[in-house]
Structures are given as C-alpha cells and as structure tokens.
Symmetry: D2
Subunit: 371 residues, 4 copies
C-alpha cells in the first residue's frame, strides 16, 4: 500500500451515460476490492445528482455499498445505483421561467459535497463525456480514477471495454435468426445496429453473422454498389441478402436520391436504415425489410467475456487508487490492464482502420462495403 | 397397416406460407416415418411451384428426401425444401402484357402433375390458406393430410402448434433485455410483436416478460388508460414502463387522434407501434421508444418444445396416412395428437378468450390492456 | 367473491422439495393476486420450519411479501423464501442423544402456529410429498390449496407443470453440443438425466435432441440391443451415437453383467449411467464417455413456457381460495387450469405410456429403447 | 501478391486434435480467401489420413472445398472435413500380429502424397501436437502455415484462440444454473472443468461465474483451506458454496488423505473432482455434489467472439501464404494478428501467471485458491 493511499477511507462510484451490460460487475468488483482494503464504499445515485440534488432521493442520494448489496449482481443488466444518463455538473441545465434551459457550472458545489461527505476518491464509470468531466474534477483536486464504458467500442485508449461483446453477441444471434427468414422469403433484410461514429458493432457482427453487406461510418457507401452485390448473389442462386448498417453510416456525396437532400449531420441519421431499405427495394426490385436492433443491444445480462472485463476494471480501479494513482483511466491492453492519463482518454475516437485485420478478413470473405 | 394405405408408395411434402421454426423437424419426422414404412418421400420445391413450374428448378422441382437429406436438421431454422411463401394453384397469378395480374385456376394441371409423378399422398404443412387449398385438393381426389403451422397461434382446431413457443421465447428474451435499459434511461419502451388478428404472442410474452401494458386485437385500446397506468407507476417509484403491442391492435373508436383518420383495415396496421409510441410520448411527457420485433420472431432454431411438436406432427401425418386417413389435419390436444377434418380446420380463428386463464392471470398481475 | 373467501385476510406460501425453475414466478403471481384482493401475503421460510423453528431465523421465519419484494423476480431461479428441501411436520426428525433420529408428529404445533399468526389459508408448492402433507393439514382443518412442482413431470393429475420445460430445454442444448464432439471424436456419449421413476425428461429431450438411444424406467433395457443399434449406425457411416439414460432406468432381468448383482432398489441407481458407459464400451469396442446432467437441470432461469405456467398456477391458487375452494390442487389441462382434490393428487404416478404419441414418434424416428 | 505465392495453385487444410467450436469458421474463411485469389482449396479427411489411407474414404480422402461447401457453416460446431483426432505421420501406429502397436515414420509417404496431388501448401489447424508435426513437415520442404487451436488456452504464442470463449461462456452458464440449486439445497457443488496443465478455463469461468473457490494446476491446493472458506461463508449466512476445479489441479504434498496415495502423474487425474467432492463433504460436514462439465465444453456453436477469431485466423493463413510466408503460425496479439515461427509456437506452455491481472481480480473478489 502506498503512502498516498493510506489516507483513503471512503470511495464513491458514479456511472454516467447509457446502460451497458457489465456496470454491476464493475460495481461489485470495486466494492469487494475496496472493502477488502478496509475502505467504505458508496454509490452516487443517478450520475452526480445524488450529491447535487440529495433531497430528490429517499435514501439521500448516496448509497452505502456493502458486501450484501453487491451479492449476486455480476450477471444482472442495468445498474444497482440507478439511472445512468444524467447531466454534466460543469454545464448543468437549469429551466428558465420561459421553459428554455440555461447551463450553469455547479462543479464547485459538487466538490463541496464530496468534501462534506468526506469522500476521498471517485471512481467514474462512463464514456468520453464522463471521462472529460472526470478529468476536470481531477484538475479541481478530486482524486479520480476512470473506468471506460462504451458499447460502440469507440474509445481510442482501450482495445475494448465491457458491453461491446454482449452487443455483438446479441446482434449475431439476431442475424442468425434473420438468415432463415430472409432465405425462406427471398428477401433483402436490412439490419440497423448501433454505431454513430464508429462501425465496430456493424463490422464484427456482420462478419461473425455472415452478412453480405456491411455499411459503416468509416466508408461512405454507394447503394448502387450494394444493389449490384445483391443482384450478383441472386444470379449465383442466393435469393436473399443480409445488409448490416451502422446507424451512423453515410452515403457517398450525391449518389443517393432518397438521402441526399436530408442528411446534414451525423446526429440526424437515426433513420438511415429506413431510407436504405426503401432505396434498395427500388434499386433491386426485391422485397426489402428493415430490422432496427438499437435498443436491444444496450441491455441484458453481460456475456462471460464482458463480465470478466468489467470485474477486472472494477478491481483495477481500486488497485490504482491503492497505488496512489490519480487522474487516470484503466484500459485493456490484452492480456493486461494498463493506466492511461484521463487527459489522453478522450483525445481521439477509435474508428475502424480500413486496413485492420478484421477489415481484411471481411474483404476476403467477400463482404461488400458499398465502396 | 390399413388396406388403404397398402397402396401408398410415394408421398410428397409441401410447405406454404411464411417461415416458422420447426418446419425441418416436421420434414425429418415425416421422412423417417415414411421410409420406415417402405415409402418413397419427396419434397416439392417452393410450395406447389415445384410441380407446376418444374423447369424453373435445377433439380426439377421435386426432391427425393432420403435419410441422409434429413440428418441433423431438427434444430435448423428455415426449410430444406426451399422458399415457403408461394401462390395458390386455384388462384394462380399470371402477368398480363400490361403488367397487371389475372388469377387463373391451375389446380387440374397440378393434379395431373401429382398423377404423372405417381405421388399417392400429400402432406401439406401450412396455415389457414394452405389448409383451405389442401381441402380443395382433397375434394378433387388427392389423398391429403395437413399439418398446422402458425406462429401467431390463431388456428382454432389445435391447442398450439410449432413456431409459437420459439416466437414467445425470443420475445421474452428481448423484453428481459429491454427492462434494464428502460429502467436505466427512465423510458417507456413500446415493443411491437406479431399478431395480426390474435393477440397470443403479445399476451403470453407480455405476461412471461413482465410487461406493464399489453395491447391485443381482441381488446380495443384507449391510450389515455395506458398513459394513466404509466403515470401511476411513476408515482409509485417505477420510472419506466414496458408496453407490448400486437401488430393488429386497434384503438377504441375515436379515442386516438393520431390513429383515427388513418386506420381502415387491419392490413394497413403495420405501423401501429409507431403511432402508439408518438401518442404515448405526448400523453405521458416521457421519452418513449419503439422496438419492432416482427421479423426476428419468425426465424431461428426452434425451442425444444417446438421441435417436439413438429416431430410429433410430422410422424403423426404419416401415421394418419398409414391408417387410411384422408382430408384431415393433425392437431394437438395435450398430451395427445388428434385428427380434425380439413374442412373444419379453418372455419374459425382462435382469438384470445377474454376470460381465459392467462387473461385472468394477467389481470391479477396488474397488466393494463388499455380498456 | 364467495362468502367463504370474504373471511380471508392473511395467506401464507410455503415451498417444499428441491429447487425448480418457476418457484419465484408462482410466488410473484400469488402475492400480486392476493394483494389485489386486499389480502396480506406471507412466505414461510424453509418449508414449514419458519413456523416451527422461528428462533432459527433472523426475520422470525415469516416474511411479509409486498409488491416490492416480488418485483423483477419472475425470471430468477431459486426461491426468495429460502431453502426448499425441509422436513415433514408429521414425521419431524429429532436427534436423539446417541446421534440417531426419531420422527415425531409436530403437526398440532404447526396448526397452532398458523392460528397464532392468524393465517387463514396456505398455498403449498411442492411435489407428491408436499401434496400429501398439504392434504393432511387440510384434514386437520387448515384451508389449503396446492401447486404442483415436479421437474420429472411425474404427477398424474396435471398434464405438465413448471420446471419440466426448462429441464428438457437445457438437456437438449447439451445434446446439441455433444453431437459435434461425439461425431468429431467418433465416440459413444452416454448422457444421464433426471427421472427416477418416470422417463419424461429422457424421452422428450432424447427425441428433440436427436438421440439414437433412450433408456427409461418404463422399459427395462438390454444393452446388447443398444450395442447392436450403435454398430448398425457405424456400418451405415455414422461413427458416433448419443445414448440418453434416465437415472432410474433398469436393465432387463439378468442381461447386464455389470449391473445385475448390484441393483436392488431404484434408490441405489445413482450410478446407472456409469455402469452403462462401461458396459457399452466393452460391448461395442468404441470409446464411450459419460456426461451426467443431473444437477444442471434443476436450476437456472425458467423458460418463457415455465414462467407462464408458474404465473398461471400462482394466480389460480389465489383465485381458488377466493372462490372458496379448499383441499384442492391447481393443475394444467391445456389450454385451461382445473382443480383436483388433494386426495387424488398423489394417488398415481404419471409414467410414460408406451403407446403415447411421443413414444410412437420416437419409434418412427428410429430411436432405440433397448427393448 | 508476392513472387513466391504466384506459384500457389492448390492448398489443403487439415485439422488435428479434438473438437473445438470455430473449426468450420476457419475452414470457411480460408476457402473463400483462397478461392478469391484463384486457388483451389481442399480438405484432408481425418487429419492426414485422407492422404495416407485414401482407400478408407468413399470420397478418396481429399475433398474439394467450393463456395457451396462452406456456405452457412460459420456457426456450426464440429468440422465438415471429418473426425479430428488422428495420428502423427512421424509416429504412425501400426498394429502388430500380437495386437500391440509399433510406431513407424510415414512422413515421406505423406510428402509424396502431397506432391502427387500437386498441393502447393498446407494449412494445419491444431494444438501443440499438430504445430510440432507441421513444423517437421515444413522442415521436409512443405509450405506450411499453422492455425492454433486449444480450448484450454495453453498455447504461449497467442493471447487467445478460438474455442476458449465458447468453453468459458458455457461453463459460466452452468455456474449460473448451479448457484440457485446450491443455495436452495444448502449444498457445496464442485464443478470440474477442462484444463489439464493450465487453469485458464477454471479461473475465467470461476471469476465470471462468481465461484467461491477455484482450484488450478498452477496453485497446489490444500482442502483444509477450502473447507475453512466454506465454513466461513456459512458463518456469514451463505449456506452454499461453488468450487470450480480444473481437471489437472494438484493437491499440496501430503495434505490430502484421499488423494495422496493415488496421484502420480497429471495424466491420471481424471477423477480429481470426485476425490475433492468426497474429501470436502468429510471436512465440512455439508452435502457436497459433483458436476463434471468436461465433454460439454468442447462442442456447440461458437460464440460470436470465437467465430470472429476463427474467421480472422482462416483468412490470415491465406494472406500469410499469399505474402510468401512459410513455417509460421498465425497468432492473436489484440487487436491484430501476427506471425510467429512454428518452431517457437510450442516451446512453452502458457500457464496462468500468479500475478496476472485476472488473478489479482480474483483475489480482490475473495476467491479462495486453496493456498
């Protein structure tokens, strides 16, 4: 135990952003590892709100996390410390009398709340937004360790994190189911998956689930190329095709009549699957149907792989604090866990490199990317 | 062996309508049971097209089904005898020069084709449409046994058939996944499932999957009642709700502004989930999201329960032929299999009786039906 | 509401016998249905011990079951009211000073405890042992409704009950996994499943899981016949075989050298799988391996089918009490639930009828029963 | 394309050792990647036997692998090119007249067979035995690329390979099921998993599946320590315990009465689970049961993770040949694939490092290793 960590007595955990399978496993491992070191462990309700709006919570917003509280939760989806997607203390939305919102900085208030509760360190579990906030709190003097969470797998500093394997597994299970229906009905089925800026879920589930076409944000697509692929398959005797689309996939400039007028920013692309479905039906003359998996990929019981990463991250966060670390994020560099500065954690997004091994595999398997 | 059946030497199997988990199990059981009696077994490609348009198939449209062909297929989705959703020989669509279609009766031609191939009996696997056709063929003199297939569970003469359990199981798995996400994000999630005329999938998956609201075609719904239920739950501390909707659910006359103008016939109701989602968001003021499971419920590997029903039906169809039966459909009357006349098979649709035991259970569990 | 039930204010639930997937669903449905009628609902810890040895439990042995306590438990294995396999109040084991046990009748004491807690009715969930006890308590004047529980499916008065489908489903999943390994390694794999007196699990999982041989208590087996089947398969090109054995399967008199000397009573048959494995390796000359599924079939999350049966039984038990029923067991007569007198519930065991439809199907599929 | 690879026209694939989920995915990716380069692809039946004993196979022992042959096989367990566990051409067992076996070197014959069939390169999929043979064939002049296969994850040169994730996932599913049964019955359940020399499956499934005790070959165990852990848990209110044991776990010298006399070599340790179960029942006085998962962990459909690794390895093997590589094994160094010399591939076994991150996590979670 380092001289620094000798002073730790109370640690709080908060989770930010959306649901991800494995959150409870992170919490369990951190709590058991902390208690094993003689520390008291707490969960902050609803992101940082438990400390900023304690009156809103029957239990005061700060939950004492004992061994009993974390028993038997590794395999449960969701999080035992409540809702996850809460606001940013540095840009806290306050409602004006006219119904509009103004963002104010409540971070000093939050720091005072940490001090008042005598919390010596924070474990912040979340995506790039949460890591940025964690970094800012570290700069204000709080001892902070981050745990990365992103189902999309788009955080640059970790090879992978929990939640991604569960999402890919379920997407593949769905692709398996859709194959027989597509074949029996001679249809094209378009499957929209999560992935606003990075195509990892689409690529990995598409390759593992034997999709014929995979459209990802990293490769602007031309639906004429996709249509050619589908018709080629038909000529070769395969009367159906499976097209996997990341929600953030973007058409090549000017090539897509339905899409071209409407698409400005990636944020508006929610309906990309629908438009692709319509256009493909027109281009191929084949019955084309859409399945949107989005919400189904966030929840559920984590795979054994995700449970393990999550447990390792939770325990590593405590170990890092115990070693006197501060302002870092734990990250996976298989087979080991490493620490990266929080300030580096969100510098770059991790896109699919077009020459990565999985892309080369996909090309070798004949997957069409619409390029 | 009955005197009648002594004459059977060749039996053909055809499958009609959409994909259903268990089709291959029916085929395997029928083939093994037939071969065990010294019969030759055949599969007709693509409904009846294999006999009417043999030139369209590399293998001539009629597949010899040997022990080898049906090995290891019980657990596979789809069907080894090809596409399922093909036309009606009594109303066969023929394209006119102007692009329109005229329906002609090609049933005599089909009967000649059966005769030419010396097929002594037909096993027709399908839904109400297929059973009606099978009955007409029986009346024209073909020896026919039907095997019921309906994922929606809406055939009146059988307590249940294969495919339904797989659909309900997967819907429940999806509901399990959506629960944690709904809770973490404080959302209302609307889940649209199959069920155009009968609410069985919605009811059973909703009850087994702990849905808060279930909307079925049998009970016209009032979204104000649904909204009240959601807001009551919120007041009691449950910040989320799961609403399961059968695709054929219908609003009470005049109560639903978004829907009222647009809905004429059940066939147009594809988008009922979308409209309900919009309206509920407005009524409750809560973030409301839609998940459409439709296509995911048709495919995939059958549950053990569906495998068993399908195998039993396939073997029972052969047994029925062997006993000299004709013009009947095999049906499940647990724990046994019975025969019902094909002419009765499609007389009535099996709707959810409002006083059935599962409905009473749902009411006792506090499920809201929007009434 | 009947005049009788008007007097009900407090209802207790107890569970007896081993673990079964669906127990929590029974509890949830009964609790919600009871609370909905204005009744107070309680769970008795550890069978009847909660009422007879209250001092052994921190919470006094009787748990108040509120809406909160039963939230989100439908899909959880185990039971929230504690250990299930506890003693019989009519033959309660008491330890003598010399370490031996004497059985005494503590049922009067138990009746007084019910009275003292002002419990008006009991819902007893369990197998034939529990139903016999429930019947005796009813005869002593307690208002009792039984809910049948048997993974083996051997209760005569109900077509099926919860837990069985989960057991068969998992057994089939295991058989699927073992098929590829058996084929790749050219082995015979013997799979022992539960079923001491009835072969339902072996039969249904064997048929749905494409086993080549199924040995059940109802058909004394001759391993020479089994060996012939395995060698026939080999000659036909299938270098592997899957043999499913119910733990209570019994060899034909005198035909099995390894077994003949050792087997007296069914209770000693725990190792039947091991002996069959040894003997088959000798008889066939093929590498033969054993997999015992026993303990894996009792636990886990219930299938949607079992959840539904369990929920329906829990709600039906309350409805029965509400209708003034007493001394009955709820039972499934698909598609409906019926009541049978507790005195009839355990009269006969439900064995596999040798001419039942599933047996005929198995024969048609070529399954060998060793006869 | 390199000058070297320009000469490749025919490539053969062989698989050695036991079954592993993902073999078919390797084959599919290699075949599609090879055909895409204009190469002819072949599978050798039954290890190298297809080339050494062609007369034993109806199809001559060498299967032409076309696009059609590898369609829809990614998710299937087993291998489409037949049995996997065949002999070593350098030490080929020949039966003597007296029934004993002599090992002879048939490698020259095998090399001639490759030449006769004009096979330009070999892809050998297998474990350390297969890699050693592949290396020897490379030294005799054959162009060879290896693909690592080990469910135990004990190959040193690759961070992980296909099959392992499927095995761990299923072991965790089983542990989940056993938890509720252990708790309901107040039992100790001992679960024996694969892992003769390395404890990876036991460690990872034990941690992800919330086992209380994990016994691995790397840490000699003392059952008194295990018993203490179980009794401590009991005192703290947890009346059950789950003990995961690798089949190759070894007791500390002299501490285990049941085991001490019998255990000489690791090979004889098949029954370690049984002995531990007996001894623990004696030491703790608690009902203790054994579940052996062994055979269940080898088969089945690969997880999406294993499918992806397998597909990447299959495609990478072809890419390596195309780049002119020879005598190498493809290996995973996440997120990328690298090449390692075949001569290094089997130098060291990959044991669990006692200070690795997953071990530290297990210690933090309170897992007992019996040390």
């Amino acid at each position: 135990m380092s001289p620094n960590s000798a002073k730790i007595r109370k640690v709080a955990i908060c989770t930010g952003g959306g649901d991800a399978p494995g959150l409870n496993a992170v919490i369990r491992a951190a709590v058991l590892a902390g208690i094993g070191r003689g520390w008291e462990m707490y969960g902050i309700r609803d992101g940082y709100n438990g400390l900023m709006l304690p009156e809103q919570f029957v239990d005061g917003g700060l939950i004492s996390l004992t061994r009993d509280k974390v028993r038997g939760i590794t395999h449960l989806g969701g999080t035992i410390i409540g809702t996850t997607n809460r606001g940013n203390p540095f840009q806290y939305p306050v409602k004006n009398p006219d119904g509009s919102f103004t963002e104010i900085d409540r971070s000093d208030e939050l720091m005072r709340s940490f001090a008042m509760h005598e919390i010596d360190a924070l474990i912040s579990v979340g995506g790039d937004g949460s890591m940025t906030i964690a970094n800012s709190l570290a700069q204000k003097g709080l001892r902070v360790v981050g745990v990365p969470k992103t189902i999309d797998n788009d955080l640059d500093q970790t090879v992978v994190t929990f939640g991604f394997d569960t999402a890919v597994s379920f997407a593949v299970e769905c692709l398996d189911r859709l194959h027989t229906t597509a074949a029996s009905h001679r249809r094209v089925i378009v499957v929209e998956v999560m992935g606003r800026y990075a195509g990892w879920i689409a690529l990995e589930s598409g390759v593992a689930g034997s999709a014929d076409v995979v459209l990802i944000p990293e490769i602007p697509f031309d639906l004429k190329k996709v249509s050619q692929k589908i018709l080629e398959r038909q000529r070769a005797g395969s009367n159906f095709s499976i097209v996997v689309v990341a929600e953030g996939a973007i058409p090549k400039g000017g090539t897509l009549s339905v899409l071209e007028k409407e698409i400005g920013r990636a944020e508006r692309l929610g309906g990309v699957g629908e438009k692709i479905t319509e256009e493909l039906q027109e281009l191929t003359g084949k019955e084309t149907r859409l399945v949107v998996l989005g919400h189904l990929l966030r929840g559920g019981s984590p795979t054994s792989n995700d449970r393990l990463i999550a447990l390792r991250f939770g325990a590593a966060a405590i170990r890092a604090l115990d070693e006197g670390q501060n302002g870092i994020m734990v990250a996976l560099d298989p087979p080991t866990v490493k620490y990266v500065p929080l300030s580096d954690a969100t510098k770059r997004m991790k896109n699919v490199p077009l020459d990565c091994d999985t892309m080369l595999t996909a090309r070798d398997l004949g997957v069409c990317f619409g390029d």
